[in-house]
Amino acid sequence: MNLIETKGVHHAYETPMGPLPVLAGLDLAIPESSFCAVVGPSGCGKSTLTRLIAGLLIPDEGEVWLDGAQVKSPRKTVGMAFQNPVLLEWRTILENVILPLEIVAPGMPRKQRVDRAMELLDMVGLTGFENKRPSELSGGMRQRASLCRSIVHKPRVLIMDEPFGALDAFTREDLWQTMRDLRAAEPFTGVLITHDLRESVFLGDQVVVLSDRPARTQHVLDVTLPADRTLDILYTPEAGEMLHELRDQIRIAQNRNEAA
């Protein structure tokens, strides 16, 4: 069964120059506990897509389904992570991670909250940093903390908008592995927006290529790699073929732009 589904989603923003169509016929089908990586030209509407799935935005046309119900407003079973870790400077790392629990589970005992947060911080290698302020951490560590916060309340769906986009190449690869380990330990279904094709193949079970704005689903690639991937797998011929296929699709998406 598909946990996330979008059917013929159309959306336009109101701008001073009139409506700006951003999504035009976007279809996604993401099975439970799988990972869907979304790539597409810059500015094509990827962030808009994440806001639609999260229920922060209602599409002009078409439907967004989540866990068997049509999305009409935000819901507690969703976690979000952004390119910018958006940690609250006045809270320690631990208190930052706990934040969603204060909203989603106001009655949860303090000790249970702390235990849950510490468990996640341990998984991403931040044990010992729980009492530090965000400004005392490196960019990669902040993004790890942000990931912990986005899944601390055990969401059914994790929506990530280029979470590793601002990191250097080595830190990014580190975090890919962290993400893979988190996936193995926590049961969530993921939507990962990215502009890194290798990232999409390493983390995704399917990769969706969006066309240029207004975006529609241009191509869907099923990633046929084993689940327990290591970074080396990116250098196998199978992965190379997929990367080529994606590269070609991106080129098509961009060409359409030049022609128009």
Binding site: L88, E102, S135
Partner: protein
């Protein structure tokens, strides 16, 4: 070593300042009715010590109450303007216009409206002169909140009030305290303005005026110094509150 630096540097700078002042009076050979020297001040303080205590207290409580009200009024206006674009458009020009009016011109106006209400008038002036920076800083802090900060809670279905309490409000605190430090000084100007100008005023401003009427220059300068001391005390009180509530905004010094 560090605390020595922290306490020592300001003390040394104050001593140098007093020496410079004393030297200036001495070199120019100014008589007491032209310019008092720091060495004249202890006498003046001692002679009028009870008046200083009483008037100082008057000025202090009025200023503090004025500040508290300015925080409430300025904070409320700032929140309204920060959260609603319509109110921002409506109130901003009014506030800027009001703030541009020299407050001295308002003294006779409020004195006529609230005849004889010296305490009330003094506090009112302190509020009117000091709420503006607070209103502006709070409104800017709230209206420039990055959407992503809102979204991390909105995506969980949190109410607007929860988002305000957990994110917007704490995030605005450093700007609020920055403005409050400016407002402290302004509030003193407000109280003293009314105290000096009112015919039967009380407080340090009134003491200053009586010094002027009696040609007692050392007393006048002593009042100024007393005001400076009160200002410093209140300012550092705000700094302490800032450390407690918004200390996280302080970058570690390098």
């Amino acid at each position: 070593m560090n605390t020595l630096k922290k306490v020592g540097v300001p003390i040394v700078s104050i001593v140098i300042f007093l020496l410079f002042w004393e030297g200036l009076v001495w070199i120019n050979d100014w008589p007491k009715y032209k310019m008092a020297a720091p060495s004249d001040l202890p006498d003046a303080f001692w002679k009028f010590r009870w008046l200083f205590l009483e008037m100082g207290w008057q000025t202090l409580w009025r200023t503090v109450i004025g500040l508290v009200l300015a925080v409430l009024v300025g904070g409320a206006l700032g929140m309204i303007m920060g959260l609603s674009q319509i109110f921002r458009g409506a109130l901003y020009p009014l506030l800027v216009g009001f703030n541009a009016i020299p407050k001295a011109t308002l003294v006779p106006v409020i004195a006529l409206i609230f005849i004889g209400q010296h305490d009330f008038n003094t506090v009112l002036m302190a509020v009117m002169i000091s709420f503006f920076p607070i209103a502006v800083s709070v409104s800017i802090g709230l209206s420039t909140l990055e959407p992503e900060y809102r979204d991390i809670l909105r995506a969980l279905g949190a109410s607007r009030f929860t988002i305000f309490r957990k994110i917007a409000l704490p995030k605005t605190l450093p700007e609020f305290f920055g403005a409050l430090k400016v407002s402290v000084t302004l509030a003193f100007i407000g109280t003293n303005l009314v105290e000096i100008v009112s015919p039967h005023g009380r407080g340090l401003g009134a003491l200053f005026k009586s010094g002027e009427i009696n040609g007692n220059y050392p007393l006048m300068f002593a009042v100024l110094i007393a005001l400076a001391i009160l200002g410093i005390v209140l300012y550092y009180l705000v700094v302490i509150f800032e450390k407690i509530f918004a200390g996280w905004a302080e970058r570690p010094q390098t």
